[in-house]
Structure formats: C-alpha cells, structure tokens
C-alpha cells in the first residue's frame, strides 16, 4: 500500500509540469478509456494510456517516466482524434519522453529511446537520416548486436535499399549549427 498524500504533496508539481509542457488539459480526463480502446500499442504497454494520465494526476512521477509505455506510443493520434476532452496523448507521451531523457530516468525499454537518439545523431551528421549509420549507431548504443533489429537492416541492404554511403547535404554545417544552437 502506498500513502497517497505524501507523494501527492511532492508531486502536485508533476501534473502541473506535464500539463504545461504538453499543453494538454490533463485534469479534464475522466477516464472514459476511449484512448486505450483504440490504441495500437496499448497491449504492449505495462501501463495503458488512460492509466498514464491517471498516474500523472496521482503524481506518480517515477513510475510514469520510468515506464516503457511512453516509448511505445507511435503517435498515430487515434486517441487524440476521438478523445471527448481532446487530450492528445501522443503529445503527452512526447513531453514525457523529453522529461524522461532530461531526468535520465532509465526506461525499461531503453532500446526504444536509444533508437530515437540514434536517429537524431544520424541527422546531425549528414543532415539526412541514413538508415545504415542510424542502425549502426543504434546497435552500438543498445549493445545487442544479436537483436532482431539488425536483421531488417541487413535485409534492406541485400534488397539494395541502403546506399552504402550516406548522401550528404551541402547545408550540413548549417544543420550542425542548428543543433548546437538548440543545445544552448
């Protein structure tokens, strides 16, 4: 049994912070579950989308940021399209992912967020996403070469879908600058 109030006190801010970041009116959610009912990845989440909102309302910061659920959302926006209170959970999840990264909370499905980072890296280098470099990066980061995710890469390669050398953009310096700028 967890004592609700003490956590509540500490994390009243959590609801406010998430609401502010995502710009979603989370307190409006009355748990009609329409989001979960339509969510393609819900079956794989350990907390369903509606529960995530509920947990935020209850101030369960660690559980939420640490959950794989926030990395499973693929932002198909089915939920937002149908939500009676127009809460876009995709948006919410994105905010949560950011917060998770900042807080350095380790996601159960760390690979997922490594993938996100890998993608950014790849763009940062060449200005364009480049699957091979991206996959290498990803695999290096996730440290599991045996992981099935390598196979798609190889298959694509065999299919001639991956050019061996990434195509570079002239403006790539500029891109780097943008990234730098944002760091500040």
């Amino acid at each position: 049994m967890e004592a609700l109030t003490n956590m509540e006190k500490a994390n009243k801010t959590f609801l406010e912070e998430v609401s502010k970041r995502s710009g979603e009116k989370l307190s409006l959610c009355y748990q009609c579950l329409k989001c979960t009912a339509g969510c393609p990845t819900a079956p794989n989440m350990e907390f369903r989308p509606n529960s995530i909102i509920r947990m935020i309302q209850m101030g369960k910061k660690q559980e939420v940021l640490g959950s794989s659920a926030i990395w499973f959302c693929v932002y198909c926006q089915t939920c937002g399209t149908r939500c009676p209170n127009e809460i876009h959970i995709g948006v919410l999840m994105d905010a949560l992912r950011e917060m998770a990264m900042e807080e350095g909370v380790h996601a159960k499905e760390k690979n997922i967020h490594l993938f996100h980072e890998a993608f950014i890296q790849s763009v940062r280098r060449g200005g364009r996403a480049h699957e091979v470099t991206m996959l290498m990066e990803y695999i290096l980061r996730s440290r599991d070469l045996m992981k099935g995710s390598l196979i798609p890469g190889v298959k694509l390669f065999l299919k001639g879908k991956f050019p061996l050398l990434p195509s570079f953009v002239k403006g790539k310096g500029e891109i780097k600058r943008i990234f730098e700028k944002c760091k500040k």
Binding site: M1, E2, A3, L4, T5, N6, E8, K12, L15, K25, S27, L28, Y30, Q31, N50, S51, R54, M55, Q57, M58
Partner: protein, 689 residues
Amino acid sequence: MLEDRGAAFGLEGRGKRTREFALSETLLKRSDPRTLSEAIMKKLGVFICHCGVNIAGTVDVKSVAGKMGEVKDVSHSADYIYMCSEPGQQLIRDAIREKGLEGVVVACCSPSMHENTFRKAVKSEGMNPYLCEIANIREQCSWVHQKEKQKATEKAEEIILATLKKVRENEKLEAISVSINRSVLVIGGGIAGMTAALDLAEGGYEVILLEKEQALGGHMTQLSKTFPDLHPALPDLFTKAKGIEMHPGIDLHCYSEMEEVKGYVGNFELTIRKKATYVDWEKCNGCGLCIRDCPVEYVSQFERGLGVRKAIDLLYPKSVPDKPVVHRVHCRYFIDGSCRKCEEVCPEKAIRFNQEDERIGKKVGAIVVATGFDLYPREKLGEYGYGEIPDVIDGLTLERMLSVDGPTKGKIIRPSDGKVPKEMVFIQCVASRDPDRYMPYCSRICCMYTAKQAKIYKEQVPDGQPYIFYMDIRSDGKGYEEFLQKTIEEKGLLYLRGRVSRIFQDNGTVRVLGVDTLTGNMVEVAADMVVLATAVVPSDGVKDLAAKLRATVDRHGFLTEAHIKLYPVESSTKGIYLAGCGQSPKDISDTVSQASATASKIQALLSTDQLLQDPLIAFVDEHICSGCGICVEICPYEAREMDSRRGISVVHSALCQGCGACIGACPNFACELRNSSSIQTLRMMDTFV
C-alpha cells in the same frame, strides 16, 4: 354529510334476495331473478379490442366476437384494432344509436386504463355510463397466456360472458356530487411547502401553512450557496418567506403540528396543535433583548452541534417569523422556577410562562404533504468514525461552516482544534446505494453538493487538496456536468473512484483507507478533515403523519405517488398531494417544480365547488342491518357510522371508496356494493366454475 341511502333505492326485493342467497343455493334457484331479468331482457353490445397485437396476437378475437354474437341478449358484437381510438369509440356510439343498446361490455385492457374513456363514450349517446363494463382480457388474459393461444381464447370468452352477467343486473347510477371546501392545507414550511403555498395563494385559494419548527425555510436555511450557479441560498429564500408572512391568503402556523385529520377529498377536518412558545407572538416586537439576556446556552441542532443557542431564541438570525421560543427543557424557570430574565427585560411583556399548547380546528379541501428530509442519523451509521472522530462531519454540518452567518462565520476549520484543514476528504454514497447495510437508493444530491463544497473549500484554502471518493459521478441536471468539469479543471479536485474501507484517527490526522479503482491502487490519505455525504432519508414522524392522512409510504418511509410517471404528485389517497423530498430525494429546482405541480393539481381540483364522486360504493339494507357495528370497526376509510336514532349502520357516501371490506364483514349480508352485488358476483363466478 350523513345520509341513509338504504331507502333511496327501492330495495325490498333486493333485501329479500340477499337473505335468500344467505339461506341456500336451492332457495336462490327457486326465486331465480334471472327469469325476471329475462322478462325485461336488455339489449347488450360486446366490443372486443385487439390492442394491436397485445390481445389479438394471443386471443382469436374474431371467433370470440362471433361466439358473443350468438348469446341471445347480445344484439351487437364487434371487434376492432384499437377500441380506445377515435374510430373505435365511434363504433360503440353508432351501435348504441342504431341498435338501441342498453348495456355495453368492452373487452380490452385493464379498467384502470380506459374505463373512463368508454363510459364517456356511451354517455355521449345518452346511455348511463354505469351500464358500460370492462372485461379485462389483456392484463388478465392475453399477456399472461401468450404461450397457450387456444386456452387464452376460451378464457377471454368466459371473462366476457361473466362480465355480461354483471352488466345484465347493473343499475343506472348517478355520480355523487359533494360540496367542497376551497381552502388548502400545506404541511411543511420548507422550500417545497413554501412554493406550493405561494402558488396556491396566488391562485386565489385560502392556504393554511403548517411548520413544525418555529420559523420557515426548512433545510435550505442551513445551506451556504447552491449549485450549479453558487447563488447564496438565503436572500431568495427570505423574499419567499417574507412573501408568505405578508400574504393575506396564507394562514401561517409555525411551531405547530398536525394532530388529527378526518374527512375526505374536498372536506378534510383538521386539528392543529400549536405548541406553546411561552411568548405572545402578537405582542413580541422581535427586539431580541430576551435572547441577549438569557443566561442558558446549549448546543444548537440547527448549527449541527457547531454552535450554541439560548433557552429563549430564534431558530436562526433574522428568521421568518422573527419571534423567539422558550425551550422548556433548557429554560431555568421551567427547571427550577428561577431566572425569569427574559420576562424582566421584555419591553412588551410578551413572555407567557403559563402558555399552553393550543388546538385549532380547520376545514380544507385538499392537503399538500411537503415534510422534507433528514440526513441519515449519526447514531445508526456504525462506520467511518462518524460521531467519535470530531473532524469527521456530514455535508450539512459543512454547509453551516460555509455559511457567513454560521457558527464559524463561513470559515472552514476543524471542529477539534480550529485549524484550517489542508487535506480534505469528501466521501460520497455514505449509506446510500448500500442495499445490504443501509439504503439501496441514490440520494441524488450528494454528487453535486460535494463538488460544490470542494470548490468553495478550494477557493477558501488555495493550498489545500480536496479528495473526493465517489462511485459514479451523477451530475445529470441542467448545467451540472458543465459545472463539475469546470470545477475539476480549475480547482484540481482529485476524484477517486471507489468506496472508503476505513477511517481512523492517528496522531492528529484522520487516516482514510480506500482504493482508486481507476488505477487499482490502494490509497491512504492522512486527512485533516473528512466530510461524509450521508444518505437523504424522510424526516421524522412522516410515517405517523401518513397514517393520519391514510397516505402510503414505501419501505424507506418516502410517501408513495399514485403513478411514478403520470401522477407523480398525487398520493394514493384522493385530495392528498406530495411535494419535495418527502416523496423522494431531489434537488431544489426539481423540488420547486414538483411543489408548483401540486399547486396546479389542486387548483384544478378546487376550481369547481362541486366534486363528482364515483357512486360504486357500499350501501346498507336497513331491513336487515342489525346495527352490530362491525362494519364501522372494519371500514378503513371511516365511511361507516352508526345512526343511533335508527340503530343501524349507514354509509358515508363521500368517504366510501367501495373497497368492500364491510360486505365481507357483515354477519347477515346487510351490506352490498353498487353494481357488484353478491348476486352479480355469484353469477359471474358461475361462468368460471
């Protein structure tokens, strides 16, 4: 009005027959009056309704109609898809005109539905309406025998044949007209009673308004602000109350109770008991000196135990009427004959320690029962530490706190130590929706007033956190859902879906153990204060009152209406109407419309000075009546009285509801029921056995 109807109808023959019937079947057969009735055989008509498929789906109406046509005194037999429809009624009218019918049987739904319709129809063709009878072949036949069509058809035939037998011996009757008293009694001076009284008075009727407390307003005077617009409760209420006090048409009796009710619709006779106030309200100018100087203070019920009041006091500040009452049990004078402070200071010399309860007799034509509600009594609620833990209070108590003129001047503070509660728990459905242990029904108002209270709390204590344990949020009135959503969004109320299992005290906090079914997690709140939305129950003494009025109550003590949908404000007894929470829990606006509704019904009832009553009532064969008085004992409507002069029992025609109790009870068959004589009943039974 007493009258002996025995002589009114030449009853010698009937009397003889009754006696014979009493003697033996054989005797009966010898002087079988059927020969008689055949001599003057009536021309009868039978009309069979399909009721869409309701009847025709099961009963072969065509063949029944055919068979009925063959009965020798039936000169017309027809069937139609909906007899109650305009063309259906026309069929009946035409047949009466063309075939000169003298009696009609309509085989259709229960008489409670359309008896009236068809009696009106035959009347319009000049036939006496009481020569038209209903044979119920729907509720009592087709609906209950849907599986067995053949048998159902036979049964329908028998029912109709039996009814024919009845009609053959029906007599022409005239409705009994009763003169009525056009004033009205309203019991209960809450918002319901006040509204009804004002509407009636505006309608030009004399109103007697009865309130058991010393001032008007009922529970609404205890409220702070009302949902969904958060208007303060009192101002509007006071205007209404003043309006009543001033109104020439309203005779207001506060601090009074109903002692006895006699009579019947149009002519009720009341005895009102005005409890002794020990203050001459005529003289009292409401200066308040007596209250100021009264040395006795005791815990105030009105303030739900949060405040104190004097032994002589008003019900609440600026009450209407603003006259004080001496409370005998607390007054020193009454305890040990000392003090008399109030008497000394009263400039008008209005104190009357020797005052006695007073009984007043009144006559009215109709009665509105608006006895209102109470909250589920603290003593009986054996959980949530309610009563033991001082900081566990109920909704009405919080209302007192929230009221600017209340004991805390509108401040929310813990009763135990006067601290401002930072963690505030509200629990809904306390003793409501709890069929096994408390009340099975929903109290209807708790969801909204809890939301309202949480909102006000949050406005007063911005850094406080309200938690609301609920089962379903029931904000189903106009603007309620919007109010709720807005409040949740703006005030950050935390709604937890689920019941609280336990509440206990733990170093200065009230620990609340519950579960949030939305996450499935157990939750524990260390609260500073807990507010219970306890069940709404009928106010004390309603059962007794109902008994006096011969009105019925349900198993929870709520007064029952005649029909939940079509007669929601009529009671089961004619002339008695229901308004407000005495009938079932409702919010203010529903209460007000229901109260006005009663006023409307009554204005319609009293708009004429004669009232027509069904003549299908008991009568006495004075040649047989031995004046034993058993019928007087047994009659539930006090419709039977002894005529001491002639030593027989007579029927009070306006009171008699034709229930037949006396017929069964009479040892020597002196009582009979109009158009349901023993003979008729016997004949009908012949058909079935």
